[in-house]
């Protein structure tokens, strides 16, 4: 079922009839993405949800420019995506910070690659560290920071590039439940402060309902994206409230109904 989002002109990201087929000698052809149509407005917070192996990372890697589609279009600001770059910043699940640099330098290195002058780099890096609540850790080596703090540095590094889209692939998967809850609140605050455009990948219903303005669901080998849900619940959202539970249930039903359909198709 294609996205029924209207094609407004301020779409910053657009995928049209996107396909990705992996060909391997032993497994043959594996069509992971099929006819994906997807659009995002500037400043939107979209959560991409689906079971393991349905192709979430594959889609995100194509948008990041790390991978290429086998057919269809992927456009950022109307231009086809050609390789990775700072306009599509990714926050990795394993943080991927440079261990030989401290927190500030980890942010500056990206700005340096943009050829920003040194003084301005430092000032910008400190500003973004402050934004993620790590001002006092600026000079600490990153390997001495906790997982949650490292992920904040990684978010600051991505945001400092002022990307057109911020891509987050299960960014909090390696954190414990408490740190994750804190990071959820922090991310919503940061998103509001920066008006960043975010795609957030997860397979947690709770994470999706807490964060998303719009949740897009994927199921394995389904044609296109299987459904989407707008969440207008006011923020801050309370994961223990009945409204939250109700939205979560709707999302769950939306995903599982497609899963059972798929099973039925396979059974024929």
């Amino acid at each position: 079922m294609p996205s029924n989002e209207t094609r407004d002109s301020d779409a910053i990201l657009r995928c049209e009839r996107l396909d990705r087929t992996f060909v391997s000698r032993d497994a043959g052809e594996n069509r992971v993405l099929q006819d994906i149509n997807f659009e995002m407005r500037k400043g939107e917070f979209v959560v991409l949800i689906g079971p393991s192996g349905c192709g979430k990372s594959t889609l995100l890697n194509i948008i990041a420019g790390f991978d290429r589609q086998t057919a269809g279009l992927a456009l950022i600001d109307g231009r086809p995506i050609a390789g990775p770059g700072p306009d599509k910043a990714m926050v990795f699940q394993d943080y991927a910070l440079l261990p030989w640099l401290n927190a500030r330098e980890n942010i500056e290195i990206g700005l340096k690659m943009q050829r920003m002058p040194a003084a301005q780099r430092t000032e910008t890096a400190l500003r973004f560290l402050e934004l993620v609540g790590l001002a006092e850790a600026a000079e600490r080596p990153v390997y001495k920071l906790s997982g949650g703090m490292q992920q904040r540095v990684s978010i600051a590094r991505a945001l400092a590039l002022e990307p057109k889209v911020l891509l987050m692939d299960e960014p909090f998967g390696a954190l414990d439940a408490f740190q994750r809850a804190i990071m959820h609140k922090e991310l919503v605050r940061i998103w509001r402060a920066t008006q960043a455009t975010i795609i957030f990948v997860t397979h947690s219903l709770e994470e999706a309902v807490f964060l998303g303005e719009r949740v897009v669901a994927m199921t394995p080998r389904a044609v296109g994206l299987t459904g989407e849900l707008r969440i207008d619940m006011p923020r801050p959202r309370d994961p223990l409230s009945p409204e939250f539970a109700a939205v979560k249930r709707r999302l769950f039903e939306m995903i599982t109904s497609h899963l059972t359909e798929e099973v039925a198709v396979f059974a024929e």
């Binding site: 790390f66 770059g85 599509k88 990714m90 990795f92 030989w100 080596p141 590094r157």
Partner: protein, 296 residues
């Protein structure tokens, strides 16, 4: 948290166990911190005693197996004796300088070439296809098999020795540099490309730092091999240095000097390895810490 408040916390949560003695973390005593070093001396000490015992029991003629004391005396004379006395007296410094010079130059050449060839070979697929097979074909040839060619091209003396040292230590350095660059953490390379780094900047700021731990492995292996090869070179084709002294002493039946020369070689190898480790621990502080963290 001080021990006292930790105790208090324990008592608060487990009143039933409050009476039981609380195990405290004692500060390691001086003796305890010296213990590993002392333990390390036990086996060598036992070995010396055994050696001395074998000699005292007259298992071998003393001309073939001198006692530890004879060797110590020979080493002392080699190091501090009056050169006017002739023989080996007072020539140790000269021998170390002669060998050390060749090792340093040969090793430096190997390091420069190993890194200069290893980095592009690891970084570029084309270079890899071009250079890899050649390196892996040459590598299994024992360096000692190069001696005849080395004699033809470089003659007896300094150049030939430097050539053999450079050749032997080149291989571990180049192979580990290639591996390090090729295996530079995938996600860090991804990050570099995402941050907009291409070409040289990607190599310099992301791939090279990530490959350093592996490069240092090569540097250490290379240094070990250098000391091995300098002895081979000096035995075969050079008329000075520790290796030459060793062979010369053997031909005169001076086994006390032979053993002293072996010990000097061990010490030189050990010291040069320590130098590299010291440089490494400064350059790769992050790496040590990261590995320590990963172990937890």
């Amino acid at each position: 948290m001080s021990m006292k408040s930790a105790d208090a916390a324990l008592r608060a949560t487990a009143p039933a166990r409050a009476a039981a003695p609380v195990r405290t973390l004692a500060r390691p005593s001086l003796l305890a911190s010296l213990a590993p070093a002392l333990l390390g001396l036990v086996v060598p000490g036992a070995f010396l005693v055994l050696w001395w015992g074998v000699v005292a029991a007259g298992v071998f003629p003393p001309s073939v197996l001198p006692s530890p004391f004879t060797v110590a005396a020979a080493a002392f004379d080699w190091a501090f004796g009056d050169p006017q006395n002739g023989g080996y007296s007072g020539t140790l410094a000269q021998a170390i300088w002669a060998s050390g010079q060749r090792v340093l130059l040969g090793y430096a050449i190997a390091m420069v070439l190993g890194v200069a060839i290893g980095v592009p070979t690891g970084a570029s697929r084309l270079m890899g296809h071009l250079v890899d097979p050649f390196i892996h074909l040459l590598r299994p040839i024992p360096v000692t098999a190069w001696v005849p060619l080395s004699l033809v091209f470089f003659g007896f003396g300094f150049k030939g020795a430097v050539f053999l040292v450079a050749l032997g230590s080149f291989f571990p350095i180049v192979v580990n540099t290639i591996e390090g660059v090729r295996g530079a953490n995938r996600s860090l390379v991804k990050v570099g490309r995402m941050l907009g780094a291409r070409g040289w900047r990607l190599l310099w700021y992301f791939i090279l730092p990530a490959s350093l731990p592996s490069v240092f492995v090569g540097l250490r292996l290379g240094m070990g091999i250098s000391w091995e090869l300098i002895i081979v070179a000096e035995m075969m084709s050079v008329k000075s240095g520790i290796g030459y002294t060793l062979l010369d002493a053997y031909s005169f039946g001076r086994f006390d000097v032979v053993i002293a020369a072996m010990i000097v070689l061990g010490v030189m190898g050990f010291l040069s390895d320590r130098v590299i480790v010291a440089v490494q621990s400064v350059a790769l502080r992050w790496h040590r810490e990261v590995s320590i963290h990963a172990e937890q």
